[in-house]
C-alpha cells in the first residue's frame, strides 16, 4: 500500500506543492493586509473573505483531483500499468483515498491556522459574542464534513467503476456515470437517510427538543451513517475493480 501511495504522490507532487504553496502564500498576503490595518474591520473582513474564497477553490480542486485519480486509470491507457501490477483492487483504491485524506488534512490544517490568525484580528468582545451565540458542535461537524466529502468521492468512484464495468466503450461513459451518481444519490436519500432521519426527527419533536433538530445533520448519527455508506461504496468499488471491470 505504501508503494502504491508513493507512486500516487509521485504522479502529482508538483501540483500538490504548487497548490499548497499558493494557498499559504496567498494566506500570508491576505493576513498581512489584515495585520497592517488594525481596527479597520472592513479590510480584515475582506481579507478573511478572500482567503475563504481561495480555500474553497483549493477544496474544489482537491475534490476534482480525488475523482480524477481513479478516473484516469479507468479510462486512460495508464490503467494498463496500474491494473496489471500484482495488487488487490482495494489496495489500489485505498492508496488513492489515503492521498485524498492527506491532502484534505493538510488543507484543513492550513485553513484552521489562517482562520485562527484572522480571528485574532477581530475585536475580542465580538468574538466572545459570536462564540456564545453559536452552540456549534465542532468535532461532529468536522467529522461530518470529512465523511460527506469521502462519501461523495466514493460515490463518484463507484459510479465510474460501475460504468466502466457495464460499458467498455468510453464514448458515453461520462453521461452514464453522472446518471448513475444521481440515481444513487436519490436512492440513498429516499431509502437510507430519509426514513432514518425522519424517525429521529419525530422522536426529537415528541420529546420537545426541537432546537436540536437543525443540528442533527452535523451530529454523530449522520457521521456513523456516512461511515457505513463509505464502507459499502469502498467494498463495492474494490470488488468491481478486482473481479468485474474491463480495462
Amino acid at each position: 500500500m505504501i508503494t502504491l501511495l508513493k507512486y500516487e504522490i509521485y504522479r502529482r507532487w508538483k501540483w500538490l506543492a504548487i497548490r499548497y504553496a499558493a494557498l499559504i502564500i496567498l494566506g500570508f498576503i491576505f493576513y498581512n493586509r489584515a495585520a497592517v490595518s488594525p481596527m479597520q474591520y472592513d479590510i480584515i473582513a475582506a481579507s478573511m473573505g478572500k482567503f475563504f474564497l481561495i480555500s474553497l477553490i483549493a477544496f474544489a480542486i482537491i475534490i476534482v483531483e480525488g475523482i480524477n485519480m481513479l478516473k484516469e486509470d479507468l479510462f486512460e491507457q495508464s490503467g494498463y500499468l496500474t491494473f496489471t501490477i500484482p495488487r488487490r483492487g482495494r489496495a489500489i483504491l485505498f492508496s488513492k483515498l489515503t492521498l485524498l485524506f492527506l491532502q484534505l488534512s493538510l488543507w484543513t490544517i492550513i485553513c484552521i491556522q489562517f482562520g485562527s490568525m484572522f480571528f485574532h484580528k477581530l475585536p475580542l468582545e465580538e468574538i466572545s459574542q459570536i462564540t456564545t451565540q453559536i452552540n456549534f458542535p465542532f468535532y461532529p461537524a468536522i467529522l461530518f464534513v470529512l465523511t460527506v466529502f469521502f462519501n461523495f468521492v466514493l460515490m463518484v468512484h463507484f459510479s465510474l467503476t460501475l460504468t466502466k464495468t457495464l460499458l467498455y466503450n468510453k464514448k458515453y461513459s461520462g453521461i452514464i456515470s453522472i446518471g448513475i451518481f444521481f440515481l444513487l444519490a436519490y436512492l440513498i436519500e429516499k431509502f437510507y437517510y430519509g426514513p432514518f432521519l425522519h424517525q429521529i426527527q419525530r422522536i426529537y419533536v415528541e420529546i420537545g427538543n426541537v432546537s436540536n433538530v437543525g443540528m442533527l445533520s452535523a451530529g454523530y448519527t449522520s457521521v456513523i451513517m456516512n461511515v457505513v455508506l463509505s464502507v459499502i461504496f469502498f467494498s463495492a468499488t474494490a470488488y468491481l475493480l478486482e473481479r468485474k471491470i474491463n480495462i
Binding site: T3, K6, Y7, Y10, R11, K14, Q77, S78, G79, Y80, L81, F83, T84, I85, P86, R87, R88, Y168, N169, E242, R243, K244, I245, N246, I247
Partner: protein, 232 residues
C-alpha cells in the same frame, strides 16, 4: 504435460460484437506461441483476458491453474500495444516502478537492455519516439523473469533496425521455464521465433499447428500461409 495457460470455451463479447468466441487452447511451458491474424481478429482481447484486464463473458481462462488475479499478475509480463506509462515518468522512474511492484524484475538485465536499445535513463518517456517507446516497453517486459510473457504487437511502428534488436531481445529473454505469446500481423519478422501458431479471425481459431509442421505440410513459409489464409 505442464500447461501455463488453459482456456475452456473462452468467449468475450462487447455488446453484440463477439471479440472472442468459444476458444479452447492449452499452452505448454517453455514454448513460443504466435497468435496471428488481422486487426480486430481478437488477438489483443485474448492477451488482455490473460493479463487480467478483461473478464470473460463466458468460459474460463486459467494461468498456472488459477483465474487471473493478483497471483497471475505476479507471474505474467504483459506488453500492451499502447503507451501505458504515466505522463510524468522518465525511463528511470519506469525502472523503479517495475522494481517496486514485480519481485521477478531484474534491474541489471533492464539496464543492459536499455544500453543495447540505446535508451538513456534520464529521458522523459513523453518525449520518446514511437520506436524508442516500443524498445522501452519491451525492455521492461522482458527484464522480468516471468512465467508467461504476453507481447501485443511488439513490432508495430518500429523501424527495421529496431525490429532486429527486438527480435534479439526476445530470443535472449526466452528460457525453457517461460512461455511467450506474441500477437502480431508482421509475420515475416517473428516467424523464426515461433514454435506453435494460432490463426485467429473474427474471434475464432481457424487454423493451428506446430510452425514446422505447417511449413512442411503447406510447403510455404508462415508468412505466405498467412497471406493465403487471410486473403482467401
Amino acid at each position: 504435460m505442464e500447461y501455463i495457460l488453459k482456456t475452456k470455451q473462452l468467449s468475450k463479447y462487447f455488446y453484440q460484437k463477439k471479440a472472442l468466441e468459444k476458444v479452447d487452447i492449452n499452452l505448454e511451458k517453455g514454448k513460443v506461441y504466435g497468435i496471428l491474424g488481422p486487426n480486430g481478429g481478437g488477438k489483443s482481447t485474448f492477451l488482455k483476458l490473460a493479463a487480467g484486464l478483461l473478464k470473460p463473458s463466458e468460459g474460463e481462462i486459467l494461468i498456472d491453474n488459477k483465474n487471473p488475479g493478483v497471483y497471475t499478475k505476479s507471474i505474467v509480463s504483459y506488453l500492451p500495444e499502447s503507451n501505458y506509462f504515466y505522463k510524468w515518468m522518465r525511463i528511470v522512474d519506469s525502472l523503479s516502478f517495475f522494481q517496486d511492484f514485480y519481485e521477478d524484475f531484474d534491474i541489471e538485465k533492464a539496464r543492459k537492455s536499455l544500453n543495447f536499445m540505446k535508451l538513456e535513463e534520464k529521458e522523459r518517456i513523453s518525449s520518446l519516439s514511437k520506436g524508442m517507446l516500443g524498445r522501452l516497453k519491451l525492455t521492461l517486459a522482458l527484464s522480468r523473469n516471468a512465467a508467461l510473457f504476453l507481447l501485443d504487437e511488439p513490432l508495430n511502428g518500429i523501424d527495421p533496425v529496431s525490429r532486429e534488436k527486438i527480435i534479439t531481445s526476445i530470443l535472449a529473454a526466452f528460457n525453457k521455464k517461460s512461455t511467450i505469446i506474441i500477437c502480431s500481423h508482421l509475420i515475416y519478422y517473428i516467424e523464426k521465433l515461433l514454435d506453435y501458431i494460432f490463426f485467429l479471425s473474427e474471434g475464432q481459431i481457424i487454423l493451428e499447428g506446430e510452425a514446422e509442421d505447417l511449413r512442411n505440410k503447406k510447403k510455404m513459409s508462415i508468412d505466405q500461409l498467412y497471406q493465403e489464409v487471410f486473403q482467401s
